[in-house]
Point group: C2
Chain length 763, copies 2
């Protein structure tokens, strides 16, 4: 269902649901993924990983492994020239990639269980595995710090000797808190004093993995000319290029990253793990080297989202307005600094118009894998706290949960949590659509089969959209089709989404635009696919390229007609003279007649956007049914209401909404890292790391709301991240609605529910 604020019927292509250009290849198995890459002479790489969550590495002896027949190369962290030297800083924006080469291969310290310590290349996979066992590493185990509380305790072991913490602008030595920042607006303390009700709520959200089906894989070929070619499953070919070059201490232009399809990323494949190692091994082996992680490696040694503790305090006045809010956001960064706590701060109160706020954010180092982005990174944790508190306020005051949110909703001009004022945004429209939805208007039967208890919860979330650089080239064929080169990895149908914008701009059918994703040596810089940026930023670059193509074609038409270019108009795919009605030709007709007017016509477009517009809001409604005997919670109905700006391809938007909600529901109810006290993961397989499957969930209903982004010609907003924002809170609120108990720790698994029920009985 789509609720368009701005009727899309004015578009010919936008809003339709064509088959994706890459669809056939993907369903027939023809699409080439990272692990499909094969070439003559290719050998296998494998990685030795730390069995300790925290240990000093006293010695790494590679000699026995190197001497083993069939072994072609053996490397350790000392082979990375950047290790022990000044780290590069390429963080910021959406290219938030691991900028710590020690995370690629450890040198003096293993910082988490699974941390890569050494690697081999061998003629086959088994030889490589055996060779790993011949590498002798002498460890001095150190106490592992596995939680936020332990990391910030006064007597905590300091994990990174060279970490200089930034605490409210002060340099601090000897800390595990890499960063503590504060955002303060108005006078929250004074405002709280005038509140008629203040609710405080702390939530604890556990680690969760993105759960992509395809493990990380990289193949590297270090050529005789010193140039490196890499094939790797990634959200950002340029990120792989830049990080590999930086970690190896060579020029970016010596690295060429080739496009392969990606089998799921969700933020986790913006990070770089294998390519620099595969490159080093290839250099020494003189052969192409492929490394494929197994699922244990993926879960233990790539970046899940870190655990978080978020405390909020929300004050309301008697007339139902939030007058003050305070948040304390503590996020685990994992082994090296760099959680997305800033994004959490950007989102925590942004659904609402609150004049007086104080937000403290903490980026905390622990002995766990370095956290990576996971969809709207750090947003679900913050939203869980805020929306639990809002729910509590409404319950305490007896206020309608949608009307309260509507009365307080952010709108154009409202200050975002982190300061900037919003442009035109859609939270109110989303809330009204929620109120009008069939789901919300259908009363919940509170008792299900076999005495199971039902409850309904809602939650809103805000997620900013990223901007950044994108590059597009268009090339017109004589048959009127258009080749579209774009640098954005296609995670979720972006080939089609960008092609549709080109088709709309040129008055062509979507099948007339043929998207191609070339390698990093063949297209301008394009930032990593993430931050919900591609439909907007790459779409805008494509739109600009289309405008440039039209301008060039006007000149060509003018040559053919013997008139001035400015006398040529373009509308709906048709070029015509502004003065002579006889002179008119369609784009396809013109394409066929370009001979003699100056050669083939190409055009390029590029953008470097400061941000992705105002961002997006979503509100979810969750109905749960809980067996009080077992504590098992089933989601029986679930609806996602979300602003899409303009839904270029509604099916793709709905897919994002459903996928994000499913991931959030899994995180809310089941998914967790079960770590033993040594930091080892007890459930490091997809059998034991329990993500919801299709049989666990109802069909997730969707309502697309369209409040166009004023900063994009078609009004596009990013839609991919926001749907993971509300589920933790919506489920938590639904559980409270069903049982009257408020769970504040994820996952809200049967044991925790039974425990809470027992606790209540005791009370």
């Amino acid at each position: 269902m789509t609720i368009a604020q701005d009727p899309t019927s004015r578009y010919a292509v936008i809003g339709t649901r064509p088959i994706r250009h890459d669809g056939y290849d993907k369903v027939t198995g023809r699409a080439e993924y990272g692990a499909d890459v094969s070439m003559p002479g290719m050998v296998w790489g494998d990685i030795l990983r730390s069995p300790h969550a925290h240990a000093r590495i006293l010695k790494v002896d590679l000699s026995k492994a190197a001497a083993m027949p069939g072994v072609l190369a053996v490397v350790s962290g000392l082979d990375l020239p950047r290790n022990g030297r000044r780290e590069i800083d390429v963080r910021g924006g959406v290219t938030h990639l691991p900028d710590v080469s020690a995370n690629i291969l450890a040198t003096h310290k293993a910082m988490y269980r699974g941390h890569a310590v050494a690697a081999v290349a061998a003629v086959d996979r088994e030889t490589a595995r055996v060779a790993l066992a011949l590498i002798e590493v002498e460890y001095e185990p150190l106490p592992a710090v596995l939680s936020i509380d332990d990391a910030i305790a006064a007597d905590a072991p300091i994990l990174l000797d060279d970490l200089i913490g930034d605490h409210l602008g002060e340099d601090v030595w000897g800390t595990n808190i890499a960063r503590h920042f504060r955002l303060e607006f108005g006078d929250p303390d004074a405002a709280f004093a005038t509140s008629s009700l203040v609710v405080e709520r702390e939530v604890e959200v556990g680690m969760a993995h993105q759960g992509y089906i395809e493990p990380h894989v990289a193949t590297a070929l270090w050529g005789e000319d010193g140039r490196i070619t890499i094939w790797s499953s990634t959200q950002g070919m340029f990120g792989v290029r830049d990080h590999t070059a930086a970690f190896l201490g060579i020029d970016e232009s010596r690295v060429r990253v080739m496009p392969v399809e990606i089998g799921g990323g969700f933020g986790g494949k913006g990070a770089v793990y294998l390519p620099p190692i595969a490159a080093l091994l290839s250099r020494d082996a003189g052969r192409p080297v492929r490394i494929v992680m197994d699922m244990r490696n993926v879960l233990e040694a790539t970046g899940p989202t870190g655990a978080a503790k978020v405390r909020v305090k929300v004050g309301v006045t008697d007339d139902g307005l939030i007058n003050a809010a305070q948040a304390d956001l503590k996020y685990e960064a994992g082994a090296y600094p760099g959680s997305w706590v800033g994004v959490g701060a950007r989102s925590v109160f942004s659904c609402y118009n609150v004049a007086n706020t104080r937000i403290d954010g903490y980026d905390i180092v622990v002995n766990k894998p370095r956290a990576a982005a996971y969809r709207a990174p750090c947003v679900p944790q913050a939203v869980f706290a805020t929306e639990s508190a809002v729910d509590e306020i409404c319950e305490a005051k007896g206020w309608d949960k949608i009307e309260f949110r509507l009365a307080n909703a952010s709108r154009e001009g409202t200050r975002r949590s982190d300061g900037p004022r919003f442009p035109r945004i859609g939270h109110e429209e989303v809330l009204r659509a929620t109120r009008d939805s069939d789901h919300w208007r259908t009363p919940l039967e509170r008792i299900g089969p076999d005495g199971r208890l039902r409850g309904r919860g809602i939650a809103s979330a805000y997620c900013g959209n990223a901007g950044g650089k994108s590059s597009v080239v268009l090339s017109l064929n004589t048959d009127g089709t258009v080749a579209l080169l774009e640098g954005s990895a296609d995670l979720s149908g972006s080939r089609a989404i960008v092609a549709m914008q080109v088709a709309e701009a040129l008055g062509l059918g979507v099948e007339d635009v043929r998207p191609v994703i070339p390698d990093t040596g063949s297209i301008g810089y394009t930032a990593t696919t993430g931050g919900s940026r591609v439909a907007n930023a790459t779409g805008l670059a494509a739109y600009q390229a289309a405008e440039s193509l039209i301008a060039k074609l006007k000149e060509r038409a003018a040559i053919g007609w013997g008139i001035a270019p400015e006398e040529v108009a373009f509308k709906g795919g048709q070029f015509s003279s502004r003065t002579d009605p006889e002179l008119s030709v369609g784009l396809k007709g013109l394409a066929a007649r370009l001979d003699g007017t100056g050669g083939p016509v190409m055009a390029s477009g590029s953008v470097d956007l400061p941000d992705g517009g105002g961002g997006v809001f979503g509100t979810h409604i969750a109905d749960v049914e809980i067996d009080p005997e077992t504590g098992k919670t089933d989601v029986v109905r679930y609806t996602v209401i979300q602003d899409a700006g303009t839904a270029i391809q509604p099916q793709a938007v709905e897919g994002q909404m459903q996928g994000g909600a499913a991931q959030g529901i899994g995180w809310a109810l089941n998914e967790e890292y079960v770590l033993n006290e040594d930091g080892a993961m007890a459930n490091a397989s997809f059998l034991d790391y329990r993500m919801p499957t299709a049989t666990d969930l109802p069909f997730i209903e969707t309502v697309i709301v369209e409040v166009p982004n004023p900063a994009h010609p078609f009004g596009v907003r990013g839609v991919g991240e926001i749907p993971i924002g509300p589920p933790l809170a919506a489920i938590g609120n639904a559980i409270h609605d069903a049982l009257g108990i408020r769970l504040t720790t994820t996952p809200m698994k049967p044991g925790r529910i039974l425990e809470a029920l027992a606790q209540r009985t005791v009370e």
Copy 2:
């Protein structure tokens, strides 16, 4: 040795000899050629070929082959939808490709031995081979017409029922002469009447094959979405795309041709043979299908140059000027019309300023494989006749062979054989350089070891350069390197040649420009690499793209400096303010500072040139040594003097000069098609088709003359074809100089020399 008319020292990159960008990959075996392409599920295609040079095909029964286990598809000519329908016409310019789908797969008639009749795809190569034997073809053998004389005889069998000949503009039915055209200027008959000497000379030049080492290969994948992907060794990806689409009756944009390296082409890989068959087989097999020719197929069934008979008549006045010339050019087209006789006519007298000329050209169908281009197609045959006659005139009159040529040499304003007036050209400069060369100034010892006889010959030739369409995209990286996308297949180092022009224009080092050849879906239309067009046309497109890039960068610099774009100057890689000397930044520095000025910078360039400028001239000096006992001729010294316009990469130019000369020498002395009377080739292997090897030839000396092409910013002329022009004549003249006998039939092999010597003895 380079004789620059225009000192190249003003260039930083042009004129240097860098390592080719593709060099390492090629010498280490990493470069991917057509036969290296492999993919899951790929199966083998093979082709059944006609054992008759001329036969009616009464019936093709595919059923037994189709029923054989392991056979996945069987097709015949009837599967090509274009067969029996109006043929498309895509001829003209350098995209002179076989536009006859019956040449891909025969239908009612086999026109030459080796003509493809049916094809199979099977699980392996052996199964495919066995399946071919199960295809039952009923032939009615017809008399084969294997020579020009037989084809034009009054009682000749008519080979193509539906051929309508164009004889001086008249439609003629029932002929094997597809075209007869005449070019007449001045009054040759009247002029001959005033000549003091008229020499007539007829030469017969046999077929010769380009002799590329890599056989033709194509792999096709007909996708589930009806889109076809092709990997094929070719000089023109767009030609493969367009012809495959045309022969299959589908839109061009459904076909995507992927780039692979080419193992030699020399004109012969501008033609299309396998891709449409592989595509049909893939469609029916539902699998990718690869077809690789063997060397017999290559020699018998692809396009060598056809045989030719060229008769010239040249008249001179007493003061040593050519006052009239007449030519009769008969070229075999092979099985279907389309020899390059027009190019022969364009070259035949173009070395000289002749006011009165008549040229008759004939395109003649015979039962041989359809002729393809071979380097300067149809030029060597014409030059052989003209330069033999010129030699004869000089001998008869006692005139110096260089001074006579200099006195008559074409210069700016002279009419070319086929009409147009020359712009600035370099024949005089080449002749002067010949006269000044060490080779010419070193007297020949006329008796060699063991009584072998020596002679020296020279010959000049003219070759036009093609124009056509080329497309280039440049993309600036932040490290100041530039990605160069170009659509031209790299036959002879054109990646480097084009990259050097970009580097020169941008003030970068050649290693800073990284050429990439993408697929046909990723770059604007670019004509086939041939006609010596790439260095000029693609170079010009690249130059335009560089100019466009500079213009965009001026805008960016202006933003950074807060001045108007027109205030920014660019010179020698440096951007600077025209007014404020403080404001200056190198291109690399600017590249690193583009953030915040509007995103990545790309630019495109495209050209559609009517021709390649004035064309080029070359003069060759050949010293031969002949054993009068055996008739064996050795080339003992050989020098190529040639105008290169501006030699972008002198080593590459020299390589072309040496390679072209070597091919011409082979054709002159050894290479031939030994056909039996049924049209079967008796020497269809590289062991028996005797091309010269390094041990057969002396080091070929080179003198590059530089007379810049006024139509190109760097003065580039095409250099690849012309060096095959003079050798037949130079060798023939040298043999005459040694023995006093004039051979007029190629190859001038030992038997022919002994025969001529015996003949002279008899006389």
